[in-house]
């Protein structure tokens, strides 16, 4: 042991403290960086020779400090929790948005929705009943019927528009997911090389973690760390990234909500591997969009089609028992636009009657009315009463109005439930984020305290050098005299 070795000890101390201050600087610089995990220099004292030999003996005093390892402070379990919770929150966010848009499409309760159009439509028959030979009242009913049909068409149109929009954004999302997966594969490769050559790759790992979190939100991916430093990213059991390989995904399924309703098995939207075509059970935003396209929107379109068909059946069955102002028996009042009455949907419902005189308001045939055309309004009355429902034994069973109202109420309940779930899920994921942040986040107070510590240690080491120097000076001057 010599004075020179003490100088060396002071030297390691100086560089170790300097390194620590560098890392502190890096932490402070990234205090607001998303996904950054704080780093710490792991200092280790360098001991003397553990096993003595002839020329290698130690005086039991160590020879300084080693500051080679810089550790990323993070909790792998919290990271995994965050991935799951973020995926759940993203899924619910999409569903919540969908419900909000569906509610906007129906515009209830209010004066512009289908309910209000129905409320305008039925009194049209009441006006005809008040004045069955007046073409003005009849013309008005036809206009209101057209408005009602147009209202059903436009609601259907906006649901279709939402569906198409969802499909577009799912396509974009999958393209983005493919790009992210490739980036993770490249990062895996770099991190693997760095690990093999014992180089630090903390910042690359941070970058990779934040990409994985993005994939978790988009598609519900989870990550498993491997021994060689790479991450294996899986989605619903299918591995998306493994080592430096990433597989590509694609969207499969029909092109409209109507197609999904026609054949749910073949036309449901799914995310599949490309090539391969194996279905991937995705979570996150993608799952929310698939729920939107496979159940929410097709579900409401189906119910709205049911309302349109019920309205047509209800009105047609009564209208066909009546006689018009030409004395002929009434035909269909509503049809599917090409004469059919059994496949009426909200998208194709049309008013089959174009001549106001052809509205069959009278119950008496010309034969029953002594050869005259009857001006009675018994059928118009029955049609008007249909607004209360379908008469059955003194009471009324649900008509188109009630069916529609039930649908809107169910929509409201669904939307409120989803919105509540989203609130809960967001709170959970914010808490997980805060927990993750409390482990990996940078605390400026802490960094400042550390900086002071390192600074003091640095000054002390400097003092050590100057002490050794003065000791040497003393020795050399005494000898040289």
């Amino acid at each position: 042991m010599s004075l020179f070795s003490t100088l060396n000890t002071a030297n390691t101390a100086l560089s170790a403290q300097q390194r620590a201050i560098e890392v502190t600087g890096q932490n402070i610089a990234n205090v607001n960086t998303d996904g950054y995990s704080r780093q710490r220099v792991d200092m280790q004292s360098v001991g003397g020779t553990a096993v003595p030999a002839i020329w290698s003996v130690s005086n039991q005093v160590g020879s300084g400090v080693d500051a080679d390892t810089i550790t990323r402070i993070r909790d792998a379990f919290l990271e995994a929790r965050a991935q799951t919770e973020h995926a759940g929150a993203s899924n619910l966010t999409v569903q919540d948005t969908t419900y909000t848009q569906v509610q906007q499409a129906f515009r209830e309760p209010g004066t512009t929705g289908i309910q209000s159009m129905l409320s305008d439509f039925w009194p049209g028959f009441g006006d005809i009943a008040n004045n069955s030979t007046d073409t003005g009242a009849r013309e008005q009913l036809l206009e209101r019927s057209q408005t009602l049909a147009a209202g059903l068409h436009s609601t259907m149109g906006s649901l279709d528009g939402q569906w198409a929009e969802s499909k577009d954004s799912l396509q974009t999302l999958v393209t983005d997911v493919n790009a992210t997966a490739s980036s993770i594969a490249e990062l895996n490769q770099s991190i693997k090389s760095a690990t093999m050559s014992k180089l630090q790759s903390n910042d690359l790992q941070d970058k990779r973690d934040s990409l994985v979190l993005k994939l978790a939100e988009q598609i519900g991916a989870t990550a498993t760390p491997m021994d060689d430093g790479t991450l294996t990213v899986t989605v619903g059991g299918v591995s998306l990234v493994s080592g430096n390989n990433a597989i590509q995904l694609a969207v499969s399924g029909g092109n409209s909500a109507a197609e999904v309703n026609q054949n749910p098995a073949a036309n449901s939207i799914a995310i599949v591997t490309n090539p391969g075509g194996a279905v991937v059970r995705a979570g996150g935003t993608a799952a929310g969009q698939m729920t939107t396209m496979n159940s929410i929107i097709p579900g409401y379109e189906k119910q709205l089609n049911g309302v349109a068909q019920q309205l047509a059946d209800q009105v047609n069955s009564v209208h066909q028992t009546g006689y018009d102002l030409y004395g002929t028996q009434g035909g269909a009042f509503f049809d599917d636009g090409s004469g059919g009455t059994t496949a009426v949907t909200a998208a194709n419902i049309s008013v089959a009657v174009t001549d106001p005189k052809k509205i069959a308001a009278a119950a008496l045939s010309p034969v029953a009315a002594n050869g005259q055309i009857s001006a009675d309004h018994a059928v118009a009355d029955q049609l008007y009463q249909l607004r209360l429902g379908i008469p059955s034994g003194g009471t009324y069973t649900d008509g188109a109005d009630a069916t529609y109202r039930k649908m809107i109420v169910a929509l409201g309940v669904q939307a409120a439930t989803t919105s509540n779930s989203l609130t809960t899920q967001s709170a959970v994921s914010t808490h997980v984020d805060a927990a993750r942040e409390s482990v990996s986040g940078v605390n400026i107070d802490e960094e400042m305290t550390n900086m002071l510590q390192y600074q003091h240690a640095y000054s002390a080491a400097g003092q050590l050098v100057s002490t050794v120097q003065s000791m040497m000076d003393t020795l050399i001057n005494m000898v040289g005299r």
């Binding site: 309760p109 004045n131 009675d376 009355d381 929509l411 939307a415 400026i444």
Partner: protein
């Protein structure tokens, strides 16, 4: 001990602020729209009530129209019948006059006959009274006459229905469950047509029989029957008119109830909402101030 970092503090503060702002926005939306329900999810039960009430209101509005319209018909029928009754009474007076003065000379008898004939034509005019394009006493006819001269001086009924088939009635839906008939057909008011004993037949007989007291006596009792018929018809119309008025009162009550109910369901409680808005604003400002205080200082501020 949990580590707290500035970023975490910022995150949670932001979440709190957002929550406050969302609540503020909801209240502000309620204030500006005046409605508590802007979409079904705001209150599904309220939405249901609101939709049922709106439907009920549309029904009540239409029924109010039906009532006004029906009342017009009843009033017109009433005054037509009243006029006719007056004229038939005139015919009766003339008949009695002809009977009492059996020794009236030819020209006087002729004068009575002419007068009765004139009244008969005026009665035809009344019986063919048209309201809103429909002959009042013609039942469900699309034609413009209830009675017509068949060319031989007989007035025949040209309407559809004699009141026995309820499908030919002209009715008005005055509530969801009640219909009131607003017309009365010729055969009901004036007697069975073609029998010679209906209003026009009897009056025609009177004109023809001025000189024959025996026949005139029979005609007089026939005429009394006709007057009875007309009086009954008038009473019938009067009763229905009273029913119509009750219906009108019920209808306006119902409309008021429904409007109140809709307002209770959909409209905001103004003082309550204003109070809530104020409280929320105070809360939001406090949250802003607290956040600004919590986020600013770090150890850096105190190191020299």
């Amino acid at each position: 001990m949990t580590r707290v970092t500035q970023h975490a503090v910022a995150l949670t503060s932001l979440q709190g602020l957002n929550g406050n702002l969302a609540a503020l926005q909801r209240l502000q939306q309620q204030m500006t729209s005046g409605k508590t329900i802007s979409q079904p999810s705001d209150d599904p039960t309220g939405t249901n009530t609101s939709m049922i009430v709106r439907q009920g209101m549309a029904g009540a509005t239409q029924q109010a129209r039906n009532i006004t319209d029906g009342q017009t018909f009843l009033d017109s029928t009433d005054s037509a019948l009243q006029n006719m009754l007056d004229q038939v009474r005139k015919v009766r007076d003339l008949t009695v006059q002809a009977l009492n003065n059996g020794a009236l000379d030819g020209p006087s008898q002729q004068a009575i006959a002419t007068q009765v004939q004139g009244i008969r034509e005026s009665l035809l005019g009344q019986a063919n009274l048209v309201v809103q394009g429909r002959p009042l006493f013609g039942g469900a006819t699309t034609g413009s006459f209830a009675y017509q001269d068949d060319g031989t001086g007989n007035y025949v009924y040209g309407g559809v229905g004699d009141g026995t088939d309820s499908r030919t009635w002209m009715t008005r839906q005055v509530s969801d469950v009640e219909q009131i008939r607003v017309d009365i057909t010729g055969p009901e008011a004036f007697g069975v047509p073609g029998s010679g004993k209906d209003l026009f037949g009897v009056v025609k007989n009177v004109a023809a029989d001025v000189a024959d007291p025996t026949k005139l006596t029979t005609d007089l009792s026939d005429l009394d029957n006709v007057i009875d018929g007309l009086t009954t018809a008038l009473a019938d119309i009067g009763t229905r008119s009273a029913r119509m008025q009750t219906a009108a009162t019920n209808n306006s009550n119902q409309q008021l109830t429904l409007t109140t109910k809709l307002s209770q369901t959909e409209d905001i409680d103004l003082p309550k909402t204003i109070m809530n808005l104020q409280m929320q604003q105070v809360g939001y400002q406090a949250a802003l101030a607290a956040t600004a205080q919590a986020l600013q200082p770090t150890l850096v501020d105190f190191l020299k």
